[in-house]
């Protein structure tokens, strides 16, 4: 099966910052889509987070974006700037897709 190379961004942010990140993605014309997954815990520089019955203040999500190399680099920089001092990580990996026009 013929495939085409794309970049795969993974962004872990607090659920309450996700709308700001999604807004940013929606404003970047090179991005055709994203997928958001829930997290049930994490550890980083701001300590350990485990599910809390009482508050969702510490919940995080993982946002997955597949896009071209150029857009991926631009987006990575933009997201990191947006996050600023906020919690979060941005990862970039390789991925192959079969329908190049879709991404």
């Amino acid at each position: 099966m013929q495939t085409y190379k794309r970049k795969r961004l993974e962004i872990v942010v607090e659920k309450r910052r996700a709308p700001a990140v999604l807004d940013l993605l929606d404003r970047e014309p090179g991005i055709t889509g994203w997928t958001m997954l829930p997290c049930i815990g994490g550890r980083g520089h701001t300590g350990t987070r485990l599910p809390e019955g009482a508050t969702d203040a510490l919940d995080t999500v993982l946002i997955l974006v597949v896009t071209s190399e150029e857009v991926a680099h631009r987006t990575m920089a933009a997201v990191l700037e947006l996050l600023e001092e906020f919690v979060g990580v941005v990862l970039m990996g390789e991925v192959e897709v079969a329908r190049p026009a879709h991404f």
């Binding site: 309450r16 910052r17 701001t46 350990t48 019955g53 009482a54 203040a57």
Partner: protein, 322 residues
Amino acid sequence: MDAALANLLSPPVLCFLLGLLAGIVRSDLEIPEAVARSLALYLIFSIGFKGGVELAANGDLRPLLAPLLVAAGLSLLLPLPAFGLLRLLTRVSRVDAGAIAAHYGSVSIVTYVAATSFLQSRGIRFEGFLAAVVAVMETPAILTGLLLARAGETTGLDARRRRELVHEILANGSVVLLLGSFTIGILTGAEGMRRLEPVVASGFQGVLCFFLLDMGLLVARRFAGFATMGAGLLLFGLLMPLLGASVGLAAGRLLGLSVGGTALFATLAASASYIAVPAAMRLALPRANPSLSLSLALGITFPFNLVVGIPLYVAAAGRLVG
């Protein structure tokens, strides 16, 4: 003493202790998050609605004003002694001290709910407008905490962040739900209560029990963090509610509230937020360590108030006012 024992042996407190025990022995008992959060919404809705209905029955909205103003003032000012105590007793950073102070200026709705349940079981009445007092005390402390944390910084929040923060304070979910259900209670009054009674009133004690079971599990999980926290912080978690309660008792007395109302005022001042404020702090002070304030508010002050504080404040209010 008798009241303390009655409190300890009430189903809600026993459920909390059961959850605590299960958490300490690391049982796999677990109330799914989605359900626990919904139970919290139910509790908030119920106390708001019941407060509104009660107020509608009395008809007179005037006596509301003074308590609301005083409550907002308490929420704004209590972070100051909290911050001071923290700087005195502990070595947490300025940012963390500001964040923790904000939690203690604000209130814990579940502690309030447990206190109303205790009052009810003892047949002590309280003013319906206190539900609105809870709402009014939730967020002002965030401002003070933020100012304390940022004092000395040359750059404040930029305009966008400031807008976001004001929004977070005004549109905070628990504040909106509490004020909203309070208003619905006022608007629909006795007829509304007739329709919702089986859910908001009859079901209340049972739901509170399940929710406190989960709180016990959460509190136990916080204990693990204590080892690294230092005695000063733990001490703060016990002293601050006593200080808050004293101020609350005085305020209740000055406002001429009933015994029940004064006790609830004290409970509110003594309690620390773990719903509204943690959410706002993620925006206001993202570099503050959220585990620190949650461990204090949830792990020390909440159980202290629930088990020891509430009967104490009620007894004190009885002496002061009764």
